[in-house]
């Protein structure tokens, strides 16, 4: 699997903007794979892949299960899923709304951290909440790079997510989003360009700086670890050489802090090294509680607890055991570390998914609260642990502990420092207390202080019967001196002194001790002291370490014998007064061979000494002091010794007391911090609630207004309904009654409760069998109108059925209205009756008038003419009445008058012209004119003789206005020599036409026969020119 960097990007509210800007600033040939994780509601489709696709040339796709993350590609988490990564492949798991993941960013980042280690890059952008903080912690702990969106003019819109990450202290870079791409490209490119060989003493400047600035001595940390961490910081800040980085450290206190954080990061886990915890659980924990009642305490110290997983693991074991006890003692776990930020995380006790994989599901369920993938430790366990900042190197230890767990701290320290800490831990434990170390750690040369109970899992018990080593209480640097330099010393004073003592002891031995060699069982020399030249020689030949070969010849025999003796007996063998020849004389030498066994090895020390004759007694005596003075001195010495010891003891007690006060103080501070933390959480909750409250109020008042409007609209509608006299019914698509006006009850048997019943269920008083069909037809979109009546025929209605259009123009139902037209119908009926009656009356009146004339007047032509004229009027009335008193056809008027005077076969009369309708006034007037003409023709004119004829023809001519031209031409009648000048007819024709019809009429003779011409303008009040033959309703009279 190629090692390429994979960038995880987490964003929430305001994230779309930030992501767009990020990708716009990211060049396409970056050589990295990108995975974008955001907070999406589970059911909604996300357009994020498209939006990002527009901002970059890289291909952007929705993440798919099993897909390998390729360079130069972007993968986006789709809605309703959780993303993790394994061996460079994405793993997608669908979630339903039930287990909706609230911290998908933490889940992915943690997985990315474990899969890619230092090749992981995590970026947290705009969003609310704190998702991503734990994920970045995991990435940083595994050596990756962590970035958060910093504030500039344009972002982030919601700063909570990046701020929370930064506050946790796990963020390497805080940058405006547009600057992030260039930085991470530079970081990745510099990996290979980096010079990994750095001289060791170059790091000493760094050590010094750290000591001065932070008070922590990292010179005892293993070089390789230290170097790797420094290199990484250099990569992050893009310093190419160590000098450049040191300059930065000197200038920038933040970089010092950042380096410190990186140095302190270690990978921690719950129940790390399962077997060790098993042993702890079965063998150690029960012992801790043995013989303790409710008034007692179990005290535990976890050294170097970092983010708290170790301490809480122990707490779980203790808690589980306590549950089985009737009267459990109080348990106090002190968990310390020098990393204050890690303390903060430990106190919060919240761990993202993968971090809790060392915990069994049963324990998870019992002790943790699962908040969608992050697990919060329950209060009962949190209360058992007190986290406080404490340096095991610098600060006095806790005391009277039942158990100390110091796992994977010592390995980071140089052996000399380790050797200071072991006795410290011994001191801190109460008698028979237990010590846990990491699997690659040991008690070293302090095996005499601890009994290994389980060597493989590094479980030890304190040995109580030991000669108390001088307690390593040393000069502790008070805080105020942290900023001043310590006088150049790189090592702590104690180490220096013990080495010095060794040196001095060696010097004394060298100067005043005997000359010796150490040989093994084969006689090979292992060690020469100084001054062996007197007794040993370098022989000729190849160099040899055989002591017998080296010994001077005179020495050889005795040496061999003594060696042999010592070997055989296992005891000291001595030879004295051995003469040895050297240059310049003979030496007399004593020789002792002593076997020395250490473990399974036996070596032999061969001590050479010049033979010194015994000193006589009197010589000794003279060196003696007076007895009295000796005693006093001895006594004084003894007292002094006792005083020293007492003083020592007092000092120890004082230190203990101090330590306990410190402890209490730490506990109180810890509690205080927890309370503050809770307080802040409550404040935040309160603000959130207020905010939500305000929103709700706003929404509420809007709704209120809407409801008021609705009420008013409804009220208007109701009033309208009540007021209208038109019976109206609203039906829905299924002919179910939605609403109706009160007037409807006259037509249908409806009560208010009938809302919701189908119309067809109900009895109607209407004779309208087609109602249902008509309603269905209206669903097609066209309205229908019908005149209908009540079944008893008493009332008439105009029924209108209309489609009901809903707001989207879909036909949602129908609307029926019934307008009472009974009155109108009655009126119409009445009119008909009236008209008929009138007609009848008029005709009767005319008949009566005729009768009166008939009876009153003497029989003469005048009477005949008069009564004829009455008849002409009566006929015309008939014609008009047949056409409803609207009009009468000109043709019929002519025929009616001419017919009585025509021949039997009608051949002497022609009537010809287009259809012309005369209005009543014109019809009556023209009827009189035509009557005169006809009568004259029959008396004096063409119709008075056989062979005579009358031709009447008319046309419509002209345009503006059109004119009716009618010609009445008589042929074959007796010659007329002159026309009458006066007379009813003549006057009627000449003056009347002009007067009444605004027309012109002329009477002439042609060939002795009458020619009458009339021209009338077509005033629509008088004349209309009909075009449809079906308006003819009168039969041609006998022609």
């Amino acid at each position: 699997m190629p090692n390429r960097p994979i960038v995880g990007i987490g964003a929430s509210a305001g994230g779309v903007e930030a992501l767009e800007r990020f990708f716009k600033s990211m060049p396409a040939d970056n050589g990295m794979g990108f995975v974008v994780v955001t907070h999406l509601p589970p059911n909604r489709e996300s357009m994020l892949a498209e939006i990002i696709g527009r901002a970059t040339q890289m291909p952007v796709v929705d993440a798919r299960d099993g897909e390998m993350v390729e360079r130069g590609h972007v993968y986006v988490l789709p809605a309703g899923a959780i993303l993790t990564i394994h061996e460079g492949r994405l793993r997608l798991r669908r979630t339903g709304t039930a287990d909706h993941q609230r911290t998908p960013i933490d889940v992915f980042f943690t997985s990315l951290a474990q899969d890619r280690a230092e090749h992981a890059i995590g970026i947290v952008l705009s969003g609310g909440g704190s998702d991503g903080t734990l994920g970045l912690k995991a990435i940083k702990e595994n050596g990756g790079l962590t970035v958060a969106q910093g504030t500039n003019a344009t972002g982030p819109r919601f700063a909570q997510m990046p701020t929370s990450a930064v506050a946790s202290g796990f963020v390497d870079l805080v940058l405006p989003v547009e600057d992030i791409p260039d930085r991470i490209i530079a970081y990745v490119r510099n990996w290979d360009a980096f010079d990994k060989q750095q001289p060791e003493d170059a790091l000493s400047t760094v050590y010094r700086l750290l000591q001065t600035r932070t008070g922590h001595d990292f010179s005892e940390y293993k070089d390789s670890t230290f170097q790797r961490r420094v290199q990484r910081r250099m990569q992050v800040v893009q310093a190419v050489g160590l000098e450049e980085y040191v300059e930065q450290l000197q200038k920038d206190p933040d970089e010092v802090r950042a380096l410190l954080r990186d140095l302190l990061i270690g990978v921690t886990d719950f129940f790390r090294d399962d077997a060790a915890f098993q042993v702890l659980e079965t063998s150690v924990v029960p012992k801790l509680f043995e013989g303790k009642g409710a008034a007692d305490e179990v005290r535990v110290w976890v050294v170097g607890c970092a983010t708290g997983e170790e301490a809480y693991s122990i707490a779980i074991l203790l808690r589980e055991h306590m549950d089985g006890l009737e009267a459990a003692p109080k348990v106090q776990i002190f968990a310390t570390d020098i990393d204050e930020a890690a303390m903060g995380v430990a106190r919060a006790a919240r761990y993202a998914g993968d971090l809790v994989r060392g915990i069994s599901p049963a324990r998870l369920k019992r002790f943790f609260l699962n908040e969608a993938g992050t697990y919060q430790l329950g209060k009962d366990l949190r209360e058992m642990c007190i986290f406080s900042t404490h340096s095991v190197i610098r600060d006095p230890p806790f005391s009277r502990l039942d158990l100390i767990s110091c796992r994977n701290l010592l390995i980071y320290l140089k052996p000399s420092l380790q050797e200071q800490i072991i006795p410290l831990l011994h001191y801190a434990l109460r008698p028979s207390g237990y010590l846990l170390l990491g699997l690659s750690e040991n008690v070293g040369r302090y095996a005499d202080l601890f009994v290994p109970l389980d060597h493989k899992n590094r479980v030890f018990q304190r040995r109580d019967m030991v000669a108390r080593p001088s307690l390593p209480f040393r000069q502790f640097l008070p805080a105020s001196r942290r900023e001043e330099g310590v006088s150049g010393a790189n090592h702590s004073p104690l180490v220096q002194r013990s080495e010095l003592l060794h040196n001095v002891a060696n010097t004394i031995v060298e100067r005043f001790g005997p000359t010796y060699v150490i040989v093994d069982e084969a006689g090979e020399v292992l060690y020469f002291s100084a001054g062996t030249g007197k007794y040993l020689e370098i022989a000729a030949g190849p160099p040899s370490r055989d002591v017998l070969a080296l010994a001077s010849p005179g020495l050889r025999a005795d040496l061999r014998a003594a060696l042999h003796r010592a070997k055989e007996s296992g005891r000291r063998a001595a030879r004295d007064r051995i003469p040895v020849e050297t240059n310049g004389g003979v030496h007399v030498i004593d020789l002792v061979v002593e076997p020395i066994t250490r473990g399974t090895d036996t070596t032999y020390g061969i001590v050479f000494a010049d033979h010194v004759p015994a000193v006589g007694h009197d010589e000794i005596d003279s060196a003696q002091r007076p007895p009295g003075e000796d005693d006093i001195i001895r006594q004084i010495e003894r007292e002094l010794q006792e005083t020293k010891e007492r003083l020592q003891s007092t000092i120890e007690e004082l230190e203990t007391a101090n330590e306990e006060f410190r402890s209490s103080n730490e506990e109180l501070m810890s509690v205080n911090e927890e309370l503050q933390s809770s307080n802040e959480e409550l404040e935040t909750s309160k603000e959130e609630l207020q905010s939500v409250n305000e929103e709700l109020q706003t929404v509420n008042s809007e709704l209120s207004n809407k409801v008021d409007e609705l009420d008013r609209a409804n009220s208007d509608l109701n009033n309208l309904f009540q007021s209208t006299q038109i019976a109206t019914i609203f039906l829905d698509r299924n002919l179910v009654i939605r609403s109706f006006t009160p007037s409807v009850t006259k037509l249908f048997n409806l009560i208010p409760g009938d809302h919701g019943r189908p119309l067809t269920d109900l009895v109607s008083r209407l004779a309208y069998p087609n109602l249902e069909n008509d309603i269905r037809a209206v669903f097609g979109g066209e309205a229908i109108e019908r005149a209908v009546s009540l079944a008893d025929g008493k009332r008439h209605f105009l029924a209108r059925i209309l489609p009901y259009h809903a707001s989207n123009n879909v036909i949602d139902g129908v609307l029926l209205t019934f307008v009472d037209i009974t009155g109108i119908a009655a009126a119409e009926e009445q009119l008909k009756v009236l008209a008929a009656e009138l007609s009848h009356r008029v005709k009767n009146t005319l008949a009566v008038v005729s009768s009166i004339a008939e009876r009153s007047l003497p029989d003469d032509q005048v009477k005949t003419d008069l009564i004829d004229r009455f008849h002409a009027l009566a006929h015309t009335h008939d014609l008009l009445s047949q056409a409803g008193w609207v009009e009468a056809p000109l043709r019929d008027l002519l025929l009616a008058e001419l017919a009585p005077h025509a021949a039997g076969d009608g051949s002497n009369v022609t009537v010809h012209g287009p259809p012309v309708m005369l209005k009543p006034q014109a019809a009556l007037f023209l009827a009189l004119v035509i009557h005169e003409l006809s009568t004259n023709a029959a008396k004096y004119g063409a119709l008075s003789v056989t062979g005579g004829r009358v031709d009447v023809a008319w046309t419509i001519a002209g345009d503006d206005p059109p004119r009716l031209e009618l010609n009445w031409i008589e042929h074959g009648g007796p010659e007329i020599h002159r026309l009458p000048r006066h007379g009813f007819g003549t006057e009627l024709i000449q003056r009347g036409v002009r007067f009444e019809l605004q027309g012109e009429a002329t009477l002439e003779t042609m060939d002795g026969n009458l020619h009458f011409k009339i021209v009338i303008p077509a005033d629509p009040k008088y004349l209309i020119f009909a075009s449809s033959p079906d308006r003819w309703s009168i039969e041609e009279a006998a022609s």
Partner: protein, 124 residues
């Protein structure tokens, strides 16, 4: 009674020829000077505005139009008039004006006109 009508100028507005000529003859034989008869509203309006007459006879229905605008002009000029109509009742403002129903006797017409002329204030 017909002496009262001697020389009285009468404006006649009537669209039926036979009725109009009859009125014309009767009034002439009673000694009136007849202006018209005028069968149409437009011409009647002109005449009402410009003719100097002492009294007018107005047929309410003139070929479909109502004669009331003519009556208004005459009223403004303080020229008395009488309506002649087939209708029973005239609309409000004219309801109190003298009127004759068709068909009427000529004698009734002459009497009505005499009364009007007698009681009318001295016109223009």
């Amino acid at each position: 009674m017909t002496e009262a009508l001697q020389g009285v100028k009468v404006l006649v507005v009537e669209d039926e020829y036979l009725v109009a000529t009859l009125m014309e003859n009767m009034l002439a034989s009673a000694g009136c000077v007849v202006a018209g008869p005028i069968p149409r509203l437009a011409q009647a309006l002109d005449a009402a505005s410009s003719e100097a007459c002492d009294v007018a006879v107005l047929d309410v229905n003139l070929a479909g139009e109502r004669v009331y605008p003519v009556a208004d002009i005459l009223a403004q000029r303080n020229v008395p008039f009488v309506f002649v109509t087939g209708y029973g009742v005239l609309p409000g403002e004219y309801a109190n004006r003298p009127r004759l129903c068709k068909p009427f006797k000529m004698a009734d017409l002459l009497d009505t006109l005499s009364d009007i002329v007698k009681t009318a204030p001295a016109s223009h």
